[in-house]
């Protein structure tokens, strides 16, 4: 029995290691190709796995041609804008929906639920026309615009507030706090983990968003749209394409590796309630 359990354990590890390799190979191949010369990348006979010299020309070329500093900055501003707006508005609305009684609450909350059920593409054309009419195309504002409020985040925070005990609030009110103070000093700090979850969720999806930046910004681009544009220009220079992809992925991957617990839990708890 003991032996059988050990065999089982070993078999599980073999399966998990094989899957791990499958998950990692594309990333490793991205790294290896980025350091190769064009000749090495497209050599078939012999097939080259490791670059003979670790060249950095691919990186220097794309950094110079694509102005990566600005791409990072735009992406950062896009993420910061959407995270701040989402967490702020959702925290306020989530508290009201979860904790207060007022006329119109139910009908407004059903609008929130309704929005969550509708596929996002239906909003895009009118949102584009709005930004266009405001004359705000090609700005950071345009990138942030569709994420100014979040029905899903409001729902997430409402659930968090509903899970808090009643007595806390009662005690605060007896001590003379008004609703605003109770919210700000007592209740909001207790939902910090949900705010973090929403923040991470919003950040990752803002970073991954491709269609909206492609539509509204041809010049002030975040990383995702810039990669798409670059592929159109240098279709076959794979060392350069891989170098750019790597540069685009590294910041988020490093953040993920540092805060993996928060990332996985944040995305899972948010995603699980979607």
């Amino acid at each position: 029995m003991e032996r059988k359990a050990k065999m089982m354990q070993a078999l599980i590890h073999v399966i998990l290691i094989l899957v791990s390799i499958t998950m990692l190979v594309p990333f490793l191949w991205m790294i290896l190709t980025a350091f190769k010369s064009m000749g090495e990348a497209t050599s078939v006979n012999p097939f080259v796995i490791f670059p003979s010299v670790w060249r950095t020309e691919g990186f220097t070329t794309v950094i110079n041609n694509m102005d990566f500093f600005n791409l990072y900055l735009n992406t950062l501003l896009l993420i910061a804008g959407r995270v701040l707006a989402a967490v702020l508005t959702a925290t306020l609305a989530g508290y009201a929906f979860g904790r207060l009684e007022f006329t119109g609450k139910n009908i407004m909350f059903s609008l929130i639920l309704f929005q969550m059920m509708v596929p996002g593409q239906i909003f895009i054309i009118p949102q584009y026309l709005m930004v266009s009419k405001m004359g705000m195309l090609n700005t950071i504002f345009a990138l942030v615009f569709p994420g100014l409020v979040t029905a899903f985040g409001t729902f997430l925070l409402r659930q968090a507030y509903m899970g808090l005990p009643r007595d806390l609030e009662e005690a605060a009110r007896l001590d003379g706090c008004n609703i605003g103070q109770t919210f700000l000093f007592i209740m909001a700090p207790l939902t910090r983990s949900s705010m973090v979850a929403l923040g991470i969720f919003t950040a990752v999806f803002a970073y991954k968003d491709l269609m909206w930046p492609l539509i509204c910004n041809r010049d002030v681009m975040p990383l995702s749209a810039a990669l798409a544009k670059m592929q159109g220009q240098y279709t076959n220079n794979y060392p350069q394409l891989m170098a750019a992809s790597l540069l685009a992925c590294i910041p988020m991957i490093v953040l993920y590796l540092v805060f993996q617990k928060q990332f996985i839990e944040g995305i899972a708890t948010s995603g699980g309630k979607l």
């Binding site: 399966i15 998990l16 899957v19 998950m23 990692l24 190979v25 594309p26 990333f27 191949w29 991205m30 190709t33 078939v44 097939f47 508005t89 306020l92 609305a93 009201a96 929906f97 207060l100 009684e101 006329t103 609008l111 929130i112 929005q115 596929p119 593409q121 239906i122 054309i125 009118p126 709005m130 615009f145 979040t150 029905a151 008004n178 609703i179 970073y207 991954k208 491709l210 269609m211 990383l223 990669l227 592929q231 279709t235 794979y238 394409l241 891989m242 992809s245 685009a248 988020m252 993920y256 590796l257 993996q260 990332f263 996985i264 995305i267 899972a268 708890t269 995603g271 699980g272 979607l274």
Partner: protein, 295 residues
Amino acid sequence: MIKKGTSRERNEFMWGWAFVLPTMIGLIVLNIIPIFQTIYQSFFKTGDFGKGNIFIGLDNYAKLMGDAEVWQSVINTFKYAIVEVPFSIAIALVLAVLLNRKMMGVSAYRTIFFLPMVAAPAAIAMVWRWLFNSEFGLLNHIFGTSINWISDPRIAVFAIAVIGIWSIIGYNMVLFLAGLQEIPRDYYEAASIDGATGISQFFNITVPLLSPTIFFVTITRVIGGMQVFDLIFMVMDKNNPALYKTQSIVYLFYQNSFVENNKGYGSTIVVLLIAIIMVITIFQMIAQKKWVYYN
């Protein structure tokens, strides 16, 4: 007492409205009104150079009905989803079960499987395109084949579905792991004493008790799969011979609305997409009664 109650009610009303106001204004402007605008727009033809809207009644819908490219895109999207959804769910479920135990390396495996979730889809698509390259790609080299993974119209959509599966496994797995935590250990212990094997435990305990999570993941993955865009947009070139057999509904929406600038017809395609997603979701909601167990 009554007076106090009403003043408190008035108080909650004021604060409540103040707190929801930013979200509600944003929601109405950004989401609710656009839903009606998109439907409204689907009855118009966008004039040349985006100038002026010409009311054409149901002409866009008539055109849609006879548009072979649109129906092909519906078929392509279904093909993509039919491969991506079941495989990504089944693989993720098995991985979650394997990881749901005390064992060395669990968190390392979890970190690795989840990695594609934090990579830009544009970068993922580019590296897969390179792996799939028929002349110099790693895949053909490893398998000793010379398959045109992404330019053969018969298989390209499935090759893209493979990228989709690879990208989403970790996410599904994490949702399943959260669900597995809820299943009491005693069930498995009791089953072991009765001599049930791991595989029979999987089908008789894990799957039924996890069925609400499986159902939830299926619903969201089907909706996500029907909206596939990034991978197809990035992997398929304009002159790829397989484009016609791979372009998805959302890809056509993008092309019509923002490349060819016919936002009226683009809106009509969105309405079609939503109708399809609604029908599928309703069917799933009905079907769940047959297989989802709620305690």
